[in-house]
Symmetry: C2
């Protein structure tokens, strides 16, 4: 592992605070102090500009461009053109002049600096004080996105001075933003600025989408003059005021993204109807409810308490099921890395959090896949296959990954969708979804898996030339994860069709179910019974051995320091395929198998994927390896707060931090939900006094409150059968269990 | 196979003739009528232009550019910038006006057309007659490159008219040529044109090479006026003449390629010293000697007689050892496909022809690898390895292949160089070369093979994640060809160092020889003893089976019609790895093994490589499968003449046609030279009356003259031990053997 914390954020239970300006970490802070409401995300940048590392970024879920250049390739099945989420307008473009001089947190001597994100309101504030011409001036910038009226954004700037100061300001909306440091591609189709109002509509170049933004300004604290201003790609107003003591500017912004281009670029309302104060109060009410339902309390570990709340807060900011066309990008709406693409992470890492907290949001996540079934079918055709193959990376349903070795060889997105459907139905009992949407996806995924699989010369079915989720074994046969997940997909598809019918309605062909069953039955799962070891792929056990712990630290990340082919030719893995399988299908494997495989694969894993440690922690918990469980948990909850991977500057690891929730609930909480019923088997890390979480499960709410030696489980609603601490129990009301 | 001849070339023993203009085949003819002298190659294009498919091309061995664009990749070991042979100046840029009108073979009604290449002089002529304004005008264009004064090119244009005609001409040198249809990158650094002389010097953009061309014109047949003309990238003269009956223009050109840029672009002599007639007579003398030594006579099969002579002629035009910095591009100097790159074809397919005909040229070919040892060592470093890794494709010694799956996974260029050294020493007995150059290469190649190979968990040595020569199994372990060739390389390296010493001089390290020996000994060669079958790679026998013969014809070429990954996941092969091994190391394998493997692998091969059929034909000959031997030979000798692959328009398959020579000498002649002595075991195809070839072998010349039922072998020089028709014999003088 060898990952180390880089700590500069203060530890508070409900807020994130940077005290004193950490110039060199400015871009990290911009990610950490991101605000979002699923519709829009805004990095925590200094809107007035700062001479410090920075990535000004504002993103709208689903607003994107096709890549400018086509991939040059003669080969079939490789995508020609990708797509990426664009940096949108800067809706809070600001300039400030104090007696004609620009304050700059990167250059001025700061008497005081604080950046703060309040997780109980979503309010982000940044305050600092400087001396200018003998005067002490304090500036406070606040902003928040409405969680209920998603198109509304509020900004406030307060200027307090120890002596009268002349204040110049520009407050506007600016489409001349950069994307990954390069000039953007926005065109202006309309703008108008007059008095305190300004409106501007921008258009994407290749997708014909529109983004309309309108602002309305108000001021208090003294007289001012105002002049509206329209630029080539901007609109706003210039303000001049003489500040006696304190002057406040408040800006209400409304943003409307027309993702289909249907509006033709016509304007929406100019600004939100609600005032700054009203909207903020509404956000507080929203978060009161949110935390009442979602909070995980940890006593005795303030850092992880803050960490897990930050994870839950950011998951909510990124996605809460507001729009079924939205998905969860690997970096959420907090940066341009991974191009805003959603990966298999959505169903595999994020879905459980939504399943157990907000089943409607979980359903919407799955509906994203339903709405992009046509693109997945097109992709399967590109691969000379039938059915539907879900993309490795996507914003719009089309495959966006131009590396054939990933896009053409990895199938965990497709089996992940099938798993997600099953998991969703297991936990919610929502058969209507299954019949209305799920079964069509299951059928098309099974068709793909049937057409892509082959019978080897030895009569065993499986997948040749594939890459499992572990990307360090590139082009192998009979990857255990792929084969096993396909087998389970076939079985579940057959089970659903047998149980719910739908053959005619969904166009099931003669013999299809039989073919699925035959493949499932003859699926080759490489396994060494003597050692109880699953072989990651056919031949893995015969690969040259490498001592992962002997690889010099300076060789990491290996992609940058090792010849590309060298990564692939030994028994080292990047993330755990077999262990992942044992987590997803926990009920299928014995404790002996789990132990044997954990002990075999863990030392071979370099944990280069941020998703790896949580899986190990959860398995270690189950195997009562408490020290290891805690060691691997170490960075899950504070992955970004402590910048463990040293790349939080590029954006938060949004899908990875979902694994922090998994790590507590599945790991320490011992929850499993892959079998027919709910399993709860809590343990408590030695450093914790208490932790508690709640789950929604088939219409009930289950509260799990764990202290040293005992767990109290409360079921709100009807009684429920569950396996608790290894014994079948009927849970109703409040019951206490001795651990 | 399913390859069909597309015949339009007349069958003549010593010439290639196109009678009547085949407009749609014009680009094919341009390739077939290419002339070359290793220094320079000129396609058989109509210098005055033609409204027909055309690729005007003139190439200088070793004159190239670096690619304009860098490959965008984050991965290590993938080259960032390739390089390619450029289309050079058109040294015979011509315009013709007859009474003010341009004749055009693509548009005019032709009374007569003939294009002819004389293989006994290298003279290319093109004649045609048209009617213009009631007059019948006959035009004859001749050109040839001097084989002895390689910088000299001659052009002659004869205009004969039935009635006086006004003739306008432009004769010049033009650097405004296209490369693959795109504008070229030449810059002019100097030009001067005056009277009958013109000079121009061009410079490449990225490599700083110079190409200087000078022309000198002379005329006969009447009065004319002349005006020199310099263009942006050209220099030449305009001529106006009134042709009474016949007017002749003769142009002598001298081209000087400064490949290192040392000259700074200064001019060479303006034109060749020798006259057209003198130089042509010298070429005739050159070819008299050439054919006396190289000819393969075939009686009873005029088409293959022409075919094999065309192959030998083109091999000589492409390479005859004039410069040790030259190599043999896959298309020779006849087109832009494959970017002028040399591949493993050089040592594996071409070297035997040179070895047995012109050992000095063979030595020079190997010296190309010696002179580029530094680049091969640099490449090994890029792959995190030691020693020297020879490139998949190169002009200048640097790897030019930007597909990592080939450049990083295929090692037959390196083992091929080692094999070539051994083969050269075997056939020539040139120990001085071995000690002076060969052993250093062997040591560095063995170091590479040692560092790239690994011991599997089962203790067997071999190569993981490789591609053999068969490119339809991409990333496999223990490829039989790779492992076996590496084993033989180790063994030969150890043998040489033990026999010739050189340890200190070549910096051999303690234990290196022992390590080579250990790897050779523990090298895993996948083999099924029961069936006497070598497994192409570990696991090949368990791959899904596909009936190659059932693949629809319209699916070919598969690279264009099948999803890229689909090609790799079954037991289909593109070209024969195991059979190739059995040809290269014939003495190591029993007839039973050869038969078993031939019968197993042949039906699995789609022969998509033009190198495949000859290998099969040779093996089939050895196995007395006469029909199959003849079937596979079918297209070897006339691959380009009959445009079997329908892509001769892009250039000749220069390295593939070397396999035609192999096919006759190794196949029907039954020659083997991989063991300790010479093997000759002739058979004769039923349709032939007689065939005869000669070999140089350890200072002797061996003539093999085969008729029905008997072979006459004559040795010029000292006696020699050989295995003839399976029996050990001492050959001296002339001996007859009954077949």
């Amino acid at each position: 592992m060898g990952k180390k914390a880089d700590k500069y954020i203060e530890t508070h239970a409900w807020s994130i605070v940077e005290r004193g300006f950490h110039k060199e970490k400015n871009a990290v802070s911009e990610s950490l102090f991101s605000i979002g409401n699923e519709y829009c995300g805004l990095r925590g940048y200094a809107e007035e500009g700062a001479a410090a590392p920075s990535l000004q970024g504002c993103y709208f879920n689903g607003v994107y461009e096709w890549s400018e250049k086509e991939t040059e390739t003669a080969y079939k099945g490789i995508i020609r053109r990708g797509h990426y989420m664009v940096n949108a307008a800067d809706p809070i473009k600001t300039e400030i002049f104090l007696d004609g001089e620009k304050p700059d947190i990167g250059e001025s001597d700061l008497l005081f600096f604080e950046r703060k994100l309040d997780m109980r309101s979503g309010l982000f504030t940044r305050s600092y004080a400087i001396k200018t011409g003998g005067k002490e001036v304090r500036l406070t910038f606040s902003r928040f996105l409405s969680m209920t009226d998603t198109r509304s954004l509020y900004q406030r700037i307060e200027v307090e001075s120890s002596a009268p100061v002349s204040l110049g300001m520009y407050l506007g909306i600016d489409f001349a933003t950069k994307h990954w440091g390069r000039a953007g591609r926005w065109q202006k189709v309309f703008s108008h600025a007059e008095g305190t109002a300004a409106q501007i509509v921008g258009k994407t170049q290749s997708t014909g989408q529109f983004l309309a933004c309108g602002q309305e300004l108000s001021f208090s604290g003294g007289a001012y003059t105002l002049a509206a201003e329209e630029g080539a790609l901007s609109a706003g107003s210039r303000i001049l005021a003489n500040v006696e003591k304190k002057f406040t500017a408040t800006k209400r912004v409304a943003c409307y993204a027309d993702k289909t281009g249907e509006s033709g670029g016509t304007m929406p309302e100019v600004a939100p109807q609600k005032s700054f104060e009203e909207a903020l109060a509404e956000n507080v009410r929203y978060y009161d409810k949110f935390w009442a339902e979602r909070d995980i309390a940890i006593e005795g570990d303030e850092e992880n308490q803050q960490g897990i709340r930050f994870c839950i807060f950011q998951l909510g900011q990124t996605y809460h099921g507001a729009f079924p066309t939205d998905n969860i990008g690997a970096k959420g709406l907090t940066g341009e890395a991974y191009s805003g693409h959603a990966f298999w992470d959505t169903e595999t890492y994020c879905l459980p959090y939504y399943l157990f907290n907000d089943p409607a949001a979980a359903r919407d996540l799955l509906l994203f896949r339903y709405h992009t079934l046509a693109q997945a079918k097109e992709r399967a055709k590109m691969l000379d296959c039938k059915g539907a193959c879900y993309p490795i990376a996507t914003l719009n349903g089309h495959e966006a990954c131009d590396l054939w070795q990933h896009a053409s060889l990895q199938f965990q997105p497709s089996t992940g969708v099938a798993y997600g459907i099953r998991h969703y139905v297991n936990v919610t009992g929502d058969e209507e979804f299954l019949i209305g949407y799920g079964m069509e996806m299951l059928l098309e995924i099974s068709r793909f898996l049937l057409s892509r699989g082959e019978y080897g010369a030895d009569g065993r079915f499986g997948y040749f030339c594939v890459m499992g989720p572990d990307e360090f074994q590139m082009m192998v046969n009979h990857n255990c994860y792929t084969n096993y997940m396909a087998k389970k997909t076939f079985e579940y598809t057959v089970e659903c069709f047998e149980k719910y019918g739908g053959r005619v309605h969904l166009g099931l062909k003669e013999g299809e179910l039989a073919a699925f069953s035959a493949c499932a039955e003859r699926m080759y799962i490489p396994y060494d019974g003597e050692r109880a070891l699953f072989e990651q792929h056919d031949g893995f056990f015969r690969l040259p051995h490498i001592e992962v712990k002997d690889i010099p630290a300076e060789d990491f990340p290996l992609y940058h320091h090792w010849s590309y082919d060298r990564i692939y030719r030994n028994d080292m893995i990047k993330q755990p395929d077999v262990l992942m399988l044992m987590l997803l299908h926990s009920a299928d494997f014995t404790m002996e198998q789990k132990r044997a495989n954990y002990e075999y694969y863990e030392p071979r894993c370099i944990h280069e994927s941020s998703l790896s440690p949580s899986v190990h922690s959860i398995l270690a918990s189950e195997l009562k390896k408490e020290d290891e469980a805690l060691k691997f948990f170490g960075f899950a909850a504070r992955l970004d707060l402590d910048d463990y991977n040293r790349n939080t500057s590029e954006g938060l690891h949004t899908t990875s931090i979902a694994a922090a929730w998994l790590n507590i609930v599945y790991g320490f909480g011992g929850v499993r939900s892959d079998g027919t019923g709910l399993v709860i088997s809590p343990s408590i890390p030695s450093i914790w006094q208490r932790y508690a979480f709640r789950l929604k499960y088939k219409g009930r709410t289950v509260l799990v409150d764990v202290r040293k030696g005992r767990a109290v489980i409360t079921v709100e609603g009807e009684e429920i059968r569950a396996i608790v601490c290894g014994r079948e129990e009927i849970l109703v009301g409040t019951r206490e269990f001795i651990l």
